[in-house]
């Protein structure tokens, strides 16, 4: 299926992929300061393993910063 991940569109993804599956596929560690949205809406990290992505979804990953 097609996903847009951090502004990059690709058809390489398998159907039924979860957010955690996407992170594993991209070798991205779900560090505590990683925040993820699907189609602009925040997804709680306890749902990463359950949230199934759909064809055309847009996923954004943000590393929040604590400095001031």
């Amino acid at each position: 299926m097609k996903l847009k991940v951090n502004c990059v569109i690709s058809n390489e993804y398998e159907n039924g992929l979860t957010i955690q599956g996407l992170l594993d596929y991209k070798h991205i560690e779900a560090v505590p300061w990683l925040v993820i949205s699907v189609n602009g809406v925040f997804v709680k990290r306890n749902l990463f393993k359950e949230h199934v992505l759909n064809d055309g979804d847009e996923i954004e990953m943000i590393y929040v910063r604590g400095g001031g």
Partner: protein, 223 residues
Amino acid sequence: MESRYDRLLSLSSFSKEDLLTLQSKKVLIIGAGGVGQHVATYLVTNGIEHLTILDFDKVEISNLNRQILLCEKDIGKYKVDVVKKALNAKNKDAYIKSINIKLDKSNVSEIITSKYDVVIDALDNWEGKFIISDECHKKRIPHLHVGVDGMSGQYCVFKDKCLRDILPSEVIKEKRDGVMGSVVGAISSMATTYLIQFLLNKVKADELVSFDFKQNSVKTIKF
């Protein structure tokens, strides 16, 4: 005769009523570092005239790359004293109160009170950011969160949500990078603009905006 707000009032999207609204607001800034100084500067030059700023630190030479209100002659002085003087030099009509204390769990309930319309988290550590967010959420006071590190950062005005809704407490283990003063300035200025718009009921709260200057990207996440 020109007044200090002439350019602001000639802005097509800004009215005299907007200025009166801002002048009636009471704002607390916790942290007088890079973020705090940028936010405070743009607030007192754009209509906020009741500002309390809290910090316990003294000025060091390593602060000067991003903390725009400080000069070399200020090294060794308390930041809140220097910042208060600098802000009043920009706007003598503004009532600036400085509090020289370190915020912690034991004193937060006395510091963050309902007399403030908004609280600004300008601290440089997650522990303090959670303390502010928890207290504001408990007392239903909107708070502006700002975080900057490396070449990126984010801001969010929390109203119905709070920091714990998006981050686990383990975030305090975040690895730190250095910081470029202009990145702190850019993100703090954007955050201040958003806060002013929020105080004027022109934008919604509970949206996180993130900037990454390495990739020149802007991302917005709704809760």
